[in-house]
């Protein structure tokens, strides 16, 4: 069967999108592949399609639980039942059940953390693995904006599984991060597929303010008059809530906040409402977005700047996945860079904490991690410290303190990593403030050549933001019907048909039937 036929049979697409075919062909030749493709351009097809050609299972390492679940859900909805997600949140029984029938799955999604579990590795060794996929591969690089220490162990894991071909996927990675990915995953002779970071259908505008209040008013004004649906990014949970509240007060009702401080159930509801077009605007932190596949997002406003250009490009990349004209607005007020600056400090342990830990006789990795938790250290700082201490052989020599030179190395590492991250922020600020074409500059940062400029390019090239306003500013006058729970209950259980549908004389009042009729 031809690849294109398989694509249409299994996924319902007629054509490959840029890069997909090339990546797949290389994989079929058992080559290691590093693919950089902008978000929303169908990266997952690159390994899902080969899943129907290879005889063994495909392991997909994915850093985020929600991302993993989204993909499993999507695959299952498209009819692929032989899909499973393995993560540490599963209860023991469930995990055991899955592990015992591993070989029956075509796609096995795993968190990097669960691959550190020896029992899991041993079970995986028993099955035949045709492809080892590392999604969001930039997480492996400490120069990447989302460094995850557990990614560093993936190479040894891959070799334990008999060295299947490896596909490393990322949306944004600078050349140095790409080198790092290849090196850390031991992808020798790997074939590279680098596709444009640039998204020509997204206009890039930047606005600078000196007064915070002016920026706030502008954000609220834009969000309520731009053509939606849209996303408003803020850097803190309270600001996400705040912006949603301001918008509600302005009469924009179909808006909700989304951030990591909310209950899982509530977050899922908000996400579903947005996907189903029941909400127009989401005010969120960077917790929102990964794995969200909503094609018709028309604008992304940054009320606060992210901490690196990589994050920025990823976040605005959520707009316009349907290819239609969309808008990214960066709102900057002098001093905004202090927030991400503060986050950097929390991401690493303080020097005093390092010295204190180093002076304690080693007593096992778990108790060490538990102790750090009592210090109220931020999670990424804890992960960093445990990893560094482990690398220096601290846990291998129980009862010993950390040697002087190791201590120095760790402190030096913290300093250089912080400096590196600050540089990223500086780069972001420079992009915001600089007098140059914003699009060209992004291409430059990611070492790309900009082939042509779209008509609505950026604020420097005088893109016209007016084009993105709602056509007739008919603010949805939402007169909420009073709640009648009896009627709601009928709708929930499909009981309304008796008194309503009969009047219409047929069952076509049910939109579901309507749809079926059209497709037949």
């Amino acid at each position: 069967m031809k690849l294109a036929d398989l694509l249409s049979e299994k996924f319902g697409y007629r054509d490959f999108r840029t890069g997909q075919r090339e990546v797949i062909e290389d994989l079929l030749m058992r080559k290691d592949v590093l693919a950089m493709m902008p978000t929303g351009t169908g990266k997952s097809i690159c390994y899902q399609l080969p899943g129907y050609i290879f005889s063994g299972s495909i392991i997909v390492v994915s850093p985020l639980l929600s991302l993993m679940e989204d993909q499993v859900e999507q695959l299952k909805r498209s009819g692929e039942k032989r899909t499973v997600a393995l993560n540490s949140f599963m209860d023991f029984e469930e995990k055991k059940r899955v592990l015992h029938r591993l070989s029956s799955y075509r796609f096995i999604y795993v968190s990097p953390e669960i691959l550190e579990n020896e029992y899991v590795i041993n079970e995986l060794k028993k099955i035949s693995v045709s492809l080892f996929v590392v999604d969001e591969a930039h997480c492996i690089s400490q120069w990447g904006h989302e460094f995850r220490t557990s990614y560093l162990k993936l190479a040894s894991c891959r070799s334990a599984l008999g060295n299947p071909p490896c596909l490393a996927l990322t949306a944004t990675a600078t050349p140095e991060v790409r080198d790092d990915i290849r090196e850390k995953l031991e992808m020798t002779g790997c074939s590279m597929h680098i596709y444009q970071v640039d998204r020509p259908n997204i206009a890039l505008t930047v606005e600078q303010y000196t007064e915070h209040l002016d920026k706030l008013n502008r954000a609220i004004g834009l969000a309520s008059t731009l053509c939606g649906p849209g996303i408003l990014y803020a850097s803190t949970r309270s600001w996400a809530e705040n912006l949603a509240e301001h918008l509600r007060q302005r009469g924009t009702h179909r808006v909700a906040a989304y951030h990591g401080g909310m209950e899982n159930e509530e977050r899922l509801l908000i996400q579903k409402q947005f996907l189903n077009d029941e909400l127009d605007i989401i005010c969120c932190t960077n917790a929102f977005g990964m794995g969200i596949n909503k094609p018709n997002i028309r604008f992304v406003i940054h009320f606060h700047m992210p901490s690196a250009m990589e994050s920025y490009v990823q976040e605005i990349g959520r707009a316009g996945r349907d290819g239609k004209k969309s808008l990214a607005v960066m709102l900057y007020c002098s001093g905004d860079e202090e927030i991400p600056g503060m986050f950097i400090d929390h991401e690493f342990p303080e020097e005093g904490q390092v010295l204190h830990c180093a002076s304690l006789p080693a007593a096992g990795r778990e108790s060490f991690a538990a102790m750090l938790e009592r210090f109220e250290m931020n999670e990424s700082a804890r992960r960093f410290l445990v990893y560094q201490f482990e690398k220096e052989g601290y846990f291998a020599n129980e009862g010993d303190v950390l040697p002087e030179d190791a201590k120095k190395r760790i402190l030096q590492k913290i300093r250089s990593r912080k400096a590196q991250k600050r540089k990223k922020i500086d780069e972001m600020v420079e992009w915001i403030k600089g007098d140059f074409c914003k699009r060209k500059r992004i291409a430059h940062i990611f070492h790309e050549e900009l082939e042509e400029r779209p008509e609505q390019c950026c604020s420097f090239c005088r893109a016209d933001i007016e084009l993105f306003f709602q056509e007739d500013s008919q603010q949805q006058l939402q007169t909420e019907a009073p709640i009648n729970w009896q009627k709601e209950l009928k709708l929930i259980f499909n009981q309304e048909s008796d008194d309503q549908h009969e009047e219409l004389g047929s069952s076509t009042a049910d939109p579901a039937d309507e749809r079926q009729r059209i497709t037949h």
Binding site: S66, E69, E73, R77, M90, D91, E94, R248, A256, M262, N264, E265, E266, L268, L269, I270, K272, Q273, L275, N276, E278, E480, I483, W485, Q486, E488, L489, K490, L491, I492, F493, N494, Q495, D510, P511, A512, D513, R515, Q516
Partner: protein, 357 residues
């Protein structure tokens, strides 16, 4: 008066100044310690265990101060007692919420979230599939819930009939409740054509405070659990089948369970202290917990018949549950531990039993 104020008034009434503010806070925010559990039992307040999970001290004290300023509660030194005005308010509050005692924090605390996820997913799937629509995102991401729903979900040809019966069951149960409860409940569910609302959204639509909306929803969950597993379960067969998917769980703290296992294997209290390397007072806490929840546990090895009688007499004469006063009247040879064991046995029984998850 909102739910938190009303229920706090109820606590003040029941505790009658015999426990500190912390005692109340730990009960209502669900700190599972032997002390809280035995207090809940002793003062017949177990049903309010974890009624406001995660409520912080600051916010709690604000509410208390508010009640004091409104003269619903009197402050005597460091103790709080309900005033006459407070009693009136409380009567009114309870009258507007006739089924409030169906809430059962001790029994359903661990069950409410799994039950809520199960309902959300099952009902959404039913709502879509009875319209022959299968392209929807599941309501939860919990594999355990997926598994449970899959196990009991009706076959294609039965779905409309099951939906009809479940509708009848919900209609019958929700009709008995005041409207705001039923309203929050239906709005929180996802159905074909509408995603469920968050607590905040439901509160906004109905003009309630967020905490009240959340309480109303959780209250309905407890109320449904009660009817779906209680004596009337036969009247609600579909709900009963849903509840039966959940697992039965032990009300003892995990640590007390370990102590109980050791006791049953014949170990003495002294041996347990040394085996578990725990403080005597901790093991004593466990024994008090066990005396409440394990009818087959005999307190006789720790309290003689004669001591038992003395404690009961003192308790009846003093008409207080304040351990200190009982202790003072009894003298040095009777320890707090003995008093708590006896009172644990004497407290109400109907609220205990196994909780489900």
């Amino acid at each position: 008066m909102n739910t938190r104020e009303g229920l706090l008034l109820y606590c003040f009434k029941k505790f009658n100044g015999e426990r500190s503010l912390s005692g109340i806070l730990h009960l209502i925010n669900g700190k599972k310690t032997s002390q809280t559990l035995s207090d809940g039992h002793l003062f017949e307040l177990s049903f309010l265990f974890a009624v406001f999970p995660g409520l912080g001290r600051e916010e709690f004290e604000q509410t208390v101060n508010h009640l004091v300023e409104a003269h619903f509660v009197k402050k005597l030194k460091d103790r709080y007692i309900i005033s006459e005005e407070g009693e009136e308010q409380l009567t009114k509050f309870l009258k507007e919420r006739p089924y409030i005692f169906a809430f059962n924090g001790l029994r359903y605390r661990d069950a409410e979230m799994p039950f809520s996820r199960l309902l959300a997913e099952y009902i959404q799937a039913l709502s879509y599939s009875t319209r022959n629509v299968y392209d929807f995102l599941p309501a939860t991401r919990d594999p355990v819930t997926h598994f449970r729903v899959k196990r009991i979900f009706p076959k294609r040809q039965e779905r409309q009939a099951v939906a009809g019966r479940l509708y009848e069951e919900f209609f019958a149960l929700l009709s008995k409740l005041p409207e705001p409860y039923a309203e929050v409940f239906v709005l929180k569910l996802s159905r074909y054509g509408r995603t469920g609302l968050t607590n905040q959204q439901a509160a906004a639509v109905l003009g309630l405070q967020e905490e009240d909306a959340e309480f109303n929803f959780r209250f309905v969950l407890h109320y449904l659990l009660k009817y779906a597993e209680g004596r009337e379960a036969v009247t609600y067969p579909i709900l009963n089948r849903l509840v039966n998917c959940l697992e039965v769980n032990d009300p003892l703290t995990v640590s007390a369970q370990k102590t109980w296992r050791l006791l049953k294997s014949g170990k003495s209290m002294e041996q347990i202290i040394s085996i578990r390397r725990m403080k005597r007072s901790t093991i004593e806490d466990h024994l008090v917990e066990i005396s409440i929840h394990r009818p087959d546990f005999s307190i006789r090895p720790y309290v003689s018949e004669q001591e038992h009688a003395r404690i009961v007499t003192a308790f009846q004469q003093l008409q207080t549950k304040k351990l200190k006063r009982i202790k003072e009247s009894l003298g040095d040879d009777i320890s707090y531990f003995k008093i708590r064991l006896v009172l644990g046995r004497a407290g109400d029984r109907n609220e205990t039993g196994r909780s489900i998850k």
